[in-house]
């Protein structure tokens, strides 16, 4: 669909825009930050943001929006930055994305909007993510904009329960409250945000940002209930039949840690990434002894995996005081699914990378604590279906290394609680809820989206799924009234 180009406020001549260098985001010194949990990236200054926005060449057919799972009006908000209307730019983003300060920090823009930015074909792409983060932070500091421009609609008289307060659930809540429905978010943990709060460390996503976003939704009228486990405290059927909810959205995420099934994974000192990061992030282990969550200070911590979770865990282990913290990954760096920025930051912080290495056993002392890892060296074989070369074990390459902490970060699965307590909801062989592209499940009035449907993915993809479901839920509720 052809869309109208936004009014231009960019005063820089077109040719000059292309020679403006992409603006680097200031960040904490690597040596200093590897000893604290303060945010690594410090954000663009207003001057830098304007210069970066002026790099946009205002394409006649901009592609950047197509790369965004929630179709943020990127050209529009960039022009508002050129106009120095930063709060207006944040409001423009919030029309499509209720969590810009979060997405500006954790979205993999390099594989989404920035990857297809036309400027990026010959030069570096416009730093859309950094600009999003800048205006979102600016708006928070200078009057958020969301609630001020939010006119509460007339009540529809209909109630929606949202299970899980992660990115999918928050996106649904944001969209449905604007439609006049009574929206309640149920969270199993004692803080809201799902994976954003238990999974992503403070140094990458400060919790204060998340609390601000949740507070904004509360101001808009969304109710939040914590320590409420749907499936245990109350079932979905009870929520609908006894509590009068007209529709339910399931955004439970993929919070069930997976292990490798090798000997020794049950030893003391071997954690799942979920447990390790939850202890540090949600339970504030990084603030011990002010907070009562002990976390072991390792001599040598190894983190098995190569994704963003592995990077978060290894950098957390280092900050907690590990003498040495290493990534152990069975493929080569080229195949690592983690963002380049996270790998780069980890290296700067002194993280050791042991690529093409795979643990096959963890060895204990007589107290049942891990003291060593037996590993195999791998080599890259034939490409698999995705084109990535497969790692295969090298014969006779076994070796043992001393380790006193292991974190397994090979992925997560779906929590089986809902499928066990609600057999009406169809699941697939991986335990994920089966839903159509608008999130409808096999149970009437129940919708689902995010990682519980797709398996582990990104924050913005979960939000995109949530927004699609919100549209479908709204249609469902309207039809229900009409019938």
């Amino acid at each position: 669909m052809k869309r109208e180009r936004p009014q231009s406020f960019n005063t820089v001549p077109m040719k000059e825009r292309m020679i403006i260098p992409r603006q680097d985001m200031p960040e904490q010194d690597a040596g200093l930050r590897s000893t604290n949990f303060l945010e690594v990236n410090l954000g663009l200054t207003p001057e830098q943001a304007i210069v970066e926005a002026q790099r946009c060449i205002e394409c006649k057919s901009p592609t950047c929006m197509d790369g965004c799972p929630v179709n943020i009006k990127i050209p529009d908000f960039i022009q508002l930055i050129c106009k120095e209307d930063f709060v207006g730019a944040a409001q423009k983003i919030k029309e499509d994305n209720s969590l810009p300060a979060i997405c500006g920090r954790v979205c993999p823009q390099e594989t989404q909007c920035e990857e297809i930015c036309v400027m990026g074909k010959r030069f570096e792409p416009v730093a859309i993510g950094r600009l999003e983060r800048f205006v979102a932070d600016y708006a928070m500091q200078h009057g958020n904009g969301s609630t001020e421009t939010f006119d509460k609609p007339a009540s529809s008289g209909q109630k929606v329960a949202i299970v899980g307060s992660g990115p999918a659930g928050l996106a649904v809540a944001s969209d449905l409250i604007k439609e006049g429905h009574e929206v309640t978010v149920f969270e199993a943990l004692h803080e809201f945000g799902g994976v954003l709060v238990y999974g992503i460390p403070e140094f990458r996503l400060p919790k204060s940002i998340l609390r601000e976003e949740v507070a904004t939704l509360e101001d808009m009228g969304v109710k939040f209930v914590k320590n409420f486990i749907v499936g245990r405290t109350m079932t979905i059927q009870e929520l609908m039949a006894d509590e009068g909810y007209d529709a339910v959205f399931l955004g439970l995420g993929a919070g069930l840690p997976r292990f490798m099934n090798i000997p020794g994974e049950n030893l003391n000192g071997v954690y799942s990434a979920n447990e390790f990061l939850t202890r540090s992030n949600l339970m504030r282990g990084y603030e011990f002894p002010e907070w009562d969550t002990p976390l072991y200070r390792a001599k040598h911590a190894i983190i098995v995996g190569g994704g963003n979770t592995a990077m978060d865990a290894v950098r957390t282990a280092k900050r907690l005081g590990a003498d040495e913290a290493s990534i152990v990954y069975r493929r080569s760096e080229e195949e690592m699914p983690a963002r380049n920025e996270e790998i780069h930051h980890a290296k700067e912080e002194g993280i050791k990378f042991m690529n093409l290495v795979n643990p096959i056993e963890f060895i204990s002392d007589d107290q049942g604590s891990v003291v060593a890892a037996k590993c195999l060296r791998m080599e890259l074989g034939e490409p698999d279906e995705s084109g990535r070369r497969r790692p295969v074990p090298m014969e006779g390459s076994e070796f043992v290394m001393d380790v006193d902490m292991v974190v397994i970060a090979v992925g997560n699965g779906s929590n089986p609680l809902i499928s066990q307590t609600t057999p009406e909801i169809e699941t697939n062989k991986w335990g994920n809820i089966v839903a159509d592209e608008d999130g409808r499940t096999s149970m009437e009035g129940v919708f689902a989206g995010g990682d519980i449907v797709s398996g582990g993915a990104t924050v913005i993809l979960a939000m995109g799924a949530g927004r699609k479901s919100a549209v479908a839920i709204n249609e469902y509720l309207k039809a229900k009234v009409g019938s």
Partner: protein, 154 residues
């Protein structure tokens, strides 16, 4: 009498029948596990294994040695170092795949051993090589699935 001695005294039809029985045993085992599984996810995975073994059983009934083209799949060894789970009613899909891949591996080794043993008999050698390759193909498919789902390394 060892299996190799038994085979030496059997004709080709009996050998094929023996292998079909072997496939039927696997079908029976996975059917029982499917029926006893406590959740949908594992029921679906066991059903897939029943289907896979059934296809193999049917293809064995119709096989022709002359048409066999040797194309052994790569042994990915993804599950070789993993612990073998016990068959029980509350297995995860991850455990089911490991269990099945290890069974395929053992059977492939058995057939490979027989193929090597009967290298003097072209017909027997080809037949057992075909069986070994097929079991290895099953292992390959299961390990590919395992790698795609359980080794995302996220």
């Amino acid at each position: 009498m060892s299996l190799k001695d038994q085979i030496s005294s059997m004709d080709m039809d009996d050998i094929v029948e023996m292998c079909i029985n072997q496939e039927q045993q696997a079908i029976d085992l996975y059917t029982l596990a499917r029926d006893q599984a406590k959740d949908d996810a594992s029921r679906q995975k066991f059903q897939e294994l029943v289907d896979m073994e059934t296809v193999h059983k049917v293809s064995l009934s119709n096989f022709e040695i002359e048409n066999y083209i040797e194309l052994p799949p790569a042994d990915l060894k993804v599950t070789d170092y993993l612990m073998e789970p016990e068959l029980k009613d509350n297995m995860t899909t991850q455990e089911i795949i490991i269990l099945a891949a290890k069974r395929e591996d053992k059977t492939a080794r058995m057939y490979q051993d027989l193929a090597d043993h009967f290298n003097f008999d072209k017909k027997l050698n080809t037949f057992f090589q075909m069986m070994a390759d097929e079991e290895l193909r099953h292992k390959h498919d299961l390990e590919t699935e395992y790698e795609n789902e359980f080794l995302q390394e996220g």
